[in-house]
């Protein structure tokens, strides 16, 4: 074996959750046999590309049911040899396989998720299930393959020794079926005493049941060790049941149903111990044998050729989001012509090669000149007129999304993923020129807003149904001013009346009237610290130019249409239906969301150069021998002679600007202390109260 084995998981091994435990155990077993192997996090596109190019075998051990990962999962199909050792049910939208009770009402067999994983299973050179239970539950969706093996998962932990202090113990998430089964068991066994570790729940509890706080994976093992009996009665098929296996292996009484993988297989402690001891080697043997096989001939990436991405009858936010799709297509090797509404063209023209105005496009000629036509509209009936016969064409209707849980543009990548095109997700971004960014800062400086937390508020939206009430905005502005924010109202050319109404309600607020240039608007939004906006094109623009954005949602879903900046949020009333959600959303709810977002922004450089930095009021310095612990939100421990933290803290007592601080002291250190909240922007102190 020359290239080694890449073990791909959704979370890094150091996360030490159940999913990463199997990854860690497999890597340790490979290492013990002297086989080069390394972990890869699925979201790390470069690491995935490296694994595909260099590894003899790529092992997918865990992926999560999020749409962004479908494209990445699809990429793995181009590996030389592919092994699947699933730790759960990644093909399931809710990762549970509770089909009879699933809100998707068994519509998922047609979903992108199942299609992608089915294709991956068809491509795989080896599939290892942990148990017959997992295999049966999976093959209905993924198909039956002859390359399948059943091997218990690696890394089943051994229980620590502990005196018995609990009679029976159980662990529950939110599955009502499991609650019912546990209560039924407790009721049928009144002489027993059952402790259930679970989130708090309402409702009556049998007298012999005690509810205790949830435990993490490590303390869970200690609790099982101290219990006489483990009760595990899930309502969905557990691929194996790590806790149950550990308890069986320790010779404890286990009350389990047929949905627990290990219970359906082997419960004798001695037999199980032998199998688990052999499991790690069995995995390694299977992978070594696979690495010795010839490389599959069908692992070829599909080519997209020339693509006309033609978006029309859509809003500014949709154009911005589809810029990310166009970029992903380009990254995948497609020659993309991105035709956008004429009004959006000046904003997008320099963001990607071949962005054209749909108005200026000779559509008939363009259709003939491209291998693939992707037409994007809000509704199916918005399609361009005329017969479509010769074109390789699809129409994507934004109102017909298959999932209500994932961002719209990622769902389109999922469509390509199910077709075998591995498009890497890109975040929608708009790059403005340095001169434009400077102009935006100058606009704010011109109204003396350069030294404070500047919150730009956009109270409009193309669709008036998305307008939060002006009076609520006025209430919010008063609250944010009370937290030290300087407010600027930003309105488009058609929103003068709305902006003036709010300005009149609050008084003394600065108003920036934007003309028709989206780039000018973008530069102002880029200069703000945070943008608060109704669900609108400007909300997406703010997010795309890199400003943390709080979107206010009502009739639309913040999951589908929310801003995509890493520090962006959507806020929506949870208590009302879409028709009344906006009216139900209070200024208090938006203020709470704002404080949460501001807290993230405060801890994440780069800050505005003029932001003043102070010592966090919750900073503690605890000396212990030759170690000093600086405690804020996180702990920074320093041992040995010099303490590099002390000079930074001392410097911040004079509240220097961010730029002067990082000029005089190592930027990485300052950044780390900011992330640990030992030091904070002055504005954040007032925001958090």
């Amino acid at each position: 074996m020359t290239g080694g084995i890449a073990v791909v998981g959704a979370v890094p091994p150091e996360a030490e959750v159940n999913a990463s435990r199997a990854q860690t155990a497999l890597l340790e077993a490979l290492d013990a046999r002297g086989i080069p192997a390394w972990p890869v996090v699925l979201a790390d596109d470069q690491a995935v590309a490296h694994a595909i190019e260099h590894a003899d075998v790529v092992v997918l051990i865990d992926s999560r049911p999020v749409h962004a990962e479908l494209a990445r999962v699809t990429r793995l199909a181009t590996a030389r040899r592919l092994a699947l050792i699933p730790s759960g049910y990644a093909f399931c939208e809710i990762a549970m396989r509770t089909c009879d009770r699933c809100p998707l009402a068994k519509s998922c067999p047609s979903s992108d998720r199942v299609a992608v994983h089915r294709a991956l299973a068809a491509r795989a050179d080896l599939i290892v299930y942990a148990s017959d239970v997992q295999r049966t539950a999976s093959e209905q969706f993924l198909g039956v393959r002859s390359v399948t093996k059943i091997i218990p998962p690696p890394g089943i932990p051994t229980l620590p020794s502990a005196p018995i202090s609990t009679d029976a113990i159980a662990f529950v998430g939110g599955d009502p079926m499991e609650w019912q089964a546990l209560f039924a068991w407790a009721t049928a066994n009144p002489q027993r005493s059952l402790v259930i570790h679970a989130p708090l729940r309402d409702g009556a509890t049998p007298a012999n049941v005690q509810i205790a706080p949830p435990l993490n994976s490590r303390t869970q093992l200690q609790a099982i060790a101290a219990a006489r009996t483990l009760v595990i009665l899930p309502g969905h098929p557990l691929p194996y049941g790590i806790a149950a296996a550990a308890a069986y292996r320790a010779g404890k009484e286990v009350i389990a149903n047929e949905r627990v993988g290990v219970a359906a297989h082997a419960t004798d402690a001695a037999v199980l111990d032998r199998e688990l001891a052999a499991a790690a080697n069995a995995h390694v043997d299977a992978l070594v044998a696979l690495a010795a096989q010839p490389v599959s001939s069908h692992a070829r990436p599909l080519e997209l050729g020339s693509v006309l991405l033609y978006v029309h009858h859509i809003g500014l936010g949709d154009s911005i989001n589809f810029l990310a799709v166009a970029s992903s297509l380009t990254d995948a090797g497609a020659h993309v012509t991105f035709a956008v509404p004429a009004g959006h063209h000046p904003l997008l023209a320099d963001q990607l090669a071949s962005v054209v105005s749909a108005q200026d496009l000779d559509l008939a000629t363009a259709r003939r000149a491209h291998d693939l036509i992707i037409e994007v509209t809000i509704q199916p009936s918005d399609a361009f007129a005329g017969d479509i016969v010769e074109d390789r064409w699809i129409q994507l209707a934004l109102e017909r999304q298959p999932s209500a849980m994932s961002p719209m543009h990622e769902q389109f990548l999922a469509l390509f993923a199910r077709a075998g095109h591995a498009l890497v997700p890109r975040r929608p971004t708009i790059e403005l020129t340095p001169a434009e960014l400077a102009a935006g800062r100058d606009v704010l400086a011109g109204i003396a807003l350069d030294r404070e937390l500047v919150v730009a508020i956009h109270p409009g939206a193309g669709n008036p149904n998305k307008w939060w009430a002006p009076a609520r905005f006025a209430e919010l502005i008063a609250k944010l001013r009370g937290r030290g924010a300087r407010i600027v109202l930003v309105g488009g050319a058609n929103e003068t009346t709305l902006v003036d109404e709010i300005a009149a309600l609050v008084g003394g607020v600065d108003v920036i009237r934007c003309g028709t240039s989206l780039r000018d608007v973008g530069s102002v939004l880029a200069a703000a610290t945070i943008v608060v906006s109704n669900d609108s094109g400007l909300m997406h623009l703010a997010s795309a130019v890199g400003t943390p954005t709080l979107g206010i949602f009502g009739p639309t879903s913040e999951r589908l249409w929310g801003p995509t900046h890493p520090y962006a949020m959507g806020v929506r009333s949870r208590s009302a239906d879409p028709a009344t959600a906006l009216a139900a959303l209070t200024a208090d709810e938006v203020e709470r969301a704002f404080i949460s977002l501001a807290g993230k922004v405060a801890a994440e450089p780069p800050l505005s150069p003029s932001s003043r930095i102070a010592v966090s009021p919750r900073l503690q310095r605890i000396a212990n021998g030759d170690t000093v612990e600086w405690r804020g939100r996180a702990v920074v421990a320093v041992s040995g002679g010099d303490d590099p933290v002390a000079p930074v803290v001392e410097a911040c007592r004079a509240e220097p600007t961010w730029s002067s601080l990082v000029e005089s002291i190592d930027r990485d250190l300052v950044t780390a202390l900011l992330a640990a909240e030992l030091i904070v922007p002055v504005w954040s102190l007032r925001v958090s109260g």
């Binding site: 992108d112 007129a385 479509i388 064409w393």
Partner: protein, 333 residues
């Protein structure tokens, strides 16, 4: 007799009006922007929601409304225009024309009783209709096929699949096998989804779109008149869809895709004119055989077509207008 043509949004509602416009010019009133765009070069077109359309008809003093839809209640039109006469012109086999003995909504519509006149294409629909105000005129789509010589065109090496929607659709059980078979036979597979699919079964649309993205020989078509697409294809994959009957006008091979969703014998009447494959069968071999000998079942097809439709002479539209004028002058005025 001041005529207006009312067209519900949906391509299947367009072709009867296309045929009638060849005989009698009149404005088109439609609920669909796409339909409107397709008719603007032929006549005046008014596009609006249904209630508004009726008001606009009243403003234009329309007194005979031809409609392809059973979803627009004739009483709703007459409520605004009390003197209006509402004439139904069928758009195909999926017209909900069966009698009230079968109350399933998709085969019988109560609105049928309320049309002032029903102009009917097939003997079967004539037999099943309970509205005494009806006349057999023939099939308007056949007029267009004859007038434009569509049945005489040399087809491309394309295989057409125009599936039904819902449980009748063969897409779910058959898509992968058909894509594979057409690739093996080096034929282009042209899929024309049912107009309802986009609205009612977006997961089916998405599955087909994924196939288009994955398979260069597959096309997803969208046409106003399916007959024009049929003219370019050498074989069709059929199911319960009315498109299977339309295909017979071209006298070219058809292969039927059976599946558990077709659970009633009457849904398979047209299956007698071509080979029927069931899931698991070698569809590639069956397609290859039909393509190699396209005339083998010609007599079955032409006989079935002639048995079904009234007077396939290319003049159904003329008879429709004449019948309406007769009713206007003899009964309604």
């Amino acid at each position: 007799m001041n005529v207006g043509y009312l067209i519900e949004d949906g391509y299947q509602h367009a072709f009867p009006v296309r045929a009638l416009l060849r005989v009698r010019k009149a404005p088109v009133f439609t609920t669909g922007a796409q339909i409107a765009a397709r008719f603007r070069d032929q006549t005046d077109v008014i596009v609006a929601p249904f209630p508004k359309l009726v008001e606009l008809m009243k403003a234009r003093a329309i007194d005979v409304v031809f409609t392809t839809s059973q979803n627009f209640d004739p009483d709703a039109i007459r409520k605004t225009i009390p003197t209006a006469r509402v004439v139904h012109i069928g758009h195909g086999e999926s017209d909900k024309t069966h009698g009230p003995s079968n109350e399933r909504r998709f085969v019988y519509d109560q609105n049928n009783r309320r049309f002032d006149l029903m102009l009917i294409a097939s003997h079967e629909h004539d037999r099943l209709s309970v509205n005494p105000n009806r006349e057999l005129v023939g099939y308007l789509r056949h007029d267009l096929v004859v007038a434009n010589g569509l049945h005489e065109r040399i087809p491309d090496p394309w295989i057409l699949w125009a599936p039904a929607y819902g449980q009748h659709s063969a897409i779910e059980p058959w898509l992968d096998a058909v894509v594979d078979a057409t690739a093996r036979l080096e034929r282009r597979l042209v899929i024309h989804l049912h107009p309802f699919s986009a609205r009612l079964e977006p997961h089916v649309v998405r599955r087909v779109q994924a196939v288009v993205l994955a398979s260069p020989h597959v096309r997803l078509a969208r046409v106003l008149d399916l007959a024009e697409l049929m003219a370019r294809c050498e074989l069709m994959l059929g199911d319960v869809s009315s498109a299977s009957w339309d295909w017979l006008m071209f006298d070219r091979p058809i292969v039927f895709l059976d599946h558990p969703g077709l659970d009633k014998p009457e849904e398979k009447r047209v299956f007698s004119v071509g080979p029927v494959v069931s899931p698991g069968d070698d569809v590639t071999a069956v397609l290859a055989a039909e393509l190699a000998a396209p005339t083998t079942r010609s007599s079955d097809r032409t006989t079935a077509l002639a048995d079904r439709y009234f007077s396939l002479d290319g003049h159904a539209a003329r008879r429709a207008i004449e019948a309406t004028e007769r009713w206007w002058s003899e009964r309604w005025q």
